[in-house]
């Protein structure tokens, strides 16, 4: 159980990490973040991916807890 808690904590922090890095050191943000996809900046899509990732994570945690 404890290893599951550690793994889940690390998974959550791993999703957050790029956002901390890009915020604190913008120079480290990859060049493709300046590009556009369907006319929408990649940073905006990155936000969508981030929200989707966190929501998916919590559903995975909940599903694991049930099984």
């Amino acid at each position: 159980m404890q290893s599951k808690i550690v793994l889940r904590t690390l998974a959550t922090l791993a999703v957050l990490l790029p956002f901390i890095v890009f915020q604190g050191a913008p120079a480290l943000a990859p060049a493709w973040l300046a590009a556009k996809l369907f006319g929408v900046p990649a940073t905006a899509w990155l936000g969508v991916v981030g929200f989707a990732a966190f929501v998916s994570l919590i559903w995975i945690f909940a599903r694991e807890a049930k099984s």
Partner: protein
């Protein structure tokens, strides 16, 4: 005054007072007042948690920040999402198993004694009071804009309403007010997003217009506008994550459901809804404010800033996209957001006062009748104090106060909860010392930060260079707990 808006506002007040009257008839005792008799369903509690988090700070403040800094505010959106995932993993289950009414119950179940409960109660009250003042500032600004009423009167009206909800309706009224508000808010945000996309002629066109409006052009959608260094970014994330795991008004929501499984389910629902709404705010509403408001007439003061400040850009967007009718509706929803938020915060402060602080000071538990009387007196006192503080600090930045509330929770209640759940060697002395050190460190660093030290106190150089104290105050609280607990005898086996 904005035409028709008085009807929407009065409708909101009537609806929330109606809920209070309904709840008052069902409140029969302490369990009802503190935790809605633990009979709220998972989906309803999920909505209430969503409503609690999507307060004036998130809905009004973050959009305002985006209008200034562009997409560089992404961490402000993502850190809370990580906080909620970690709340699920680390806290929500044990919290519901160990607690009944307050965070003092949770820590007290591990570490009996007056000192721990007193310190935790005091930290909870401090955190919630800071948040309460922030919400009242938002309410004062909103009512001043819509009705043209003086700030002091606006804040006093909201104070009177929140006292009424809590004194008569307790947690049941605060929860249902929050649920109704959450439904209205989710619907309004989705509608406003859709309207923004349609009026702009599609997403690509929306972003294209936003780019052309900003002097920085496409770089507005890259990182770096806030000039935040790595220390501040990590400190912000630490403060938000541990803050979410320690915010009393948010955590006591898990006592309103029957069991652990429902508590977990409600958090999954809340996180999903928050992902949807914060996603819509970041992806559509925020760039829409840039696209539609940059050159819009009649929304700026002579100095060029938005009327009502950057916190009010969501309302200006509603007016530009949907006219005075949508502005009135959005204003009423924003008002209900604040009313629901302050009601929940007042419950958190009052229950901590009556159930933890007063009981600890007396040295023995109070009778149910006396405790409820103390709860009501606390609600009156806290409301009056919060209104007084809001009037005193009416020129302060709402976002700064919200960050301060998070920082205090992250450095006090958050570490104490985590340690009491996961570290069997924590002693009462260690918990008391950690609470005091965390509180002093977080408040001290907030005072020494650039916003307070230079902008408010007027000194030339801040004593602490960052606006986010989490990276120092949170580890300091954990370290204090470890050192003092190691030096003192364990109080429980």
């Amino acid at each position: 005054m904005i035409p028709g808006s008085i009807l929407y506002f009065l409708g909101t007040v009537a609806l929330t007072l109606g809920i209070t009257v309904w709840a008052a008839g069902r409140n029969t005792g302490r369990a009802a007042f503190y935790a809605a008799s633990s009979k709220i369903g998972g989906f309803q509690n999920g909505l209430a948690i969503t409503g609690d988090f999507l307060s004036a700070g998130a809905v009004l403040g973050l959009v305002g920040l985006y209008s200034v800094a562009g997409a560089d505010v992404l961490l402000f959106f993502m850190a809370p999402m990580a906080g909620f995932c970690l709340l699920y993993v680390l806290v929500v289950g044990p919290l519901r198993r160990m607690g009944r009414f307050t965070l003092g119950d949770v820590v007290g179940s591990r570490l009996p004694g007056r000192g721990v409960r007193l310190v935790l109660g005091f930290c909870s009250v401090t955190t919630s009071l800071i948040n309460l003042v922030a919400q009242l500032l938002g309410a004062g600004g909103l009512i001043s804009i819509v009705f043209g009423l003086p700030f002091n009167l606006s804040v006093s009206v909201v104070g009177a309403l929140m006292t009424t909800y809590v004194v008569f309706g307790g947690m049941l009224a605060a929860t249902w007010v929050q649920i109704v508000k959450a439904v209205l808010l989710v619907s309004a945000i989705l509608y406003l997003s859709l309207l923004g996309i349609v009026k702009a002629g599609g997403l690509a066109s929306l972003y294209g217009t936003a780019e052309s409006m900003l002097a920085r052009g496409p770089s507005a959608f890259s990182f770096g506008a806030l000039h935040m260094d790595m220390y501040s970014a990590v400190s912000l994330a630490v403060g938000v994550i541990f803050g979410i795991m320690g915010l009393p008004h948010l955590l006591i929501r898990f006592f309103t459901v029957p069991d652990e499984s429902t508590a977990r389910r409600s958090l999954v629902i809340a996180t999903t809804l928050m992902g949807l709404i914060m996603g819509a705010i970041f992806f559509v509403i925020s760039p829409a404010t840039v696209a539609f408001l940059t050159n819009a007439p009649d929304i700026r003061t002579n100095s060029g800033s938005f009327i009502g400040g950057s916190n009010m850009v969501t309302l200006h967007l509603a007016r530009v996209l949907g006219g005075d009718v949508l502005l009135g509706v959005m204003g009423a929803i924003a008002f209900s957001t604040i009313l629901a938020g302050v009601a929940g915060l007042t419950v958190a402060v009052s229950s901590s006062t009556s159930h933890d602080i007063v009981a600890a000071l007396r040295g023995k538990g109070l009778s149910e009748k006396t405790e409820l009387l103390v709860f009501r007196i606390a609600a009156f006192t806290v409301s009056a104090a919060a209104v007084g503080l809001a009037i005193l600090f009416q020129r302060e930045n709402i976002a700064f106060l919200i960050v301060a509330g998070f920082a205090v929770a992250a450095s006090t209640t958050g570490p104490l909860l985590l340690l009491s759940i996961y570290w069997p060697k924590l002693t009462a002395e260690g918990a008391i010392a950690a609470g005091i050190v965390g509180l002093v460190a977080s408040v001290g660093l907030i005072i020494a930060s650039p916003v307070f030290w230079t902008k408010i106190l007027g000194f030339s150089t801040p004593l602490y260079p960052s606006e986010y104290p989490g990276l120092i105050s949170v580890p300091l609280a954990f370290a204090t707990a470890w050192i003092v607990s190691t030096l003192t005898r364990p109080t429980t086996s």
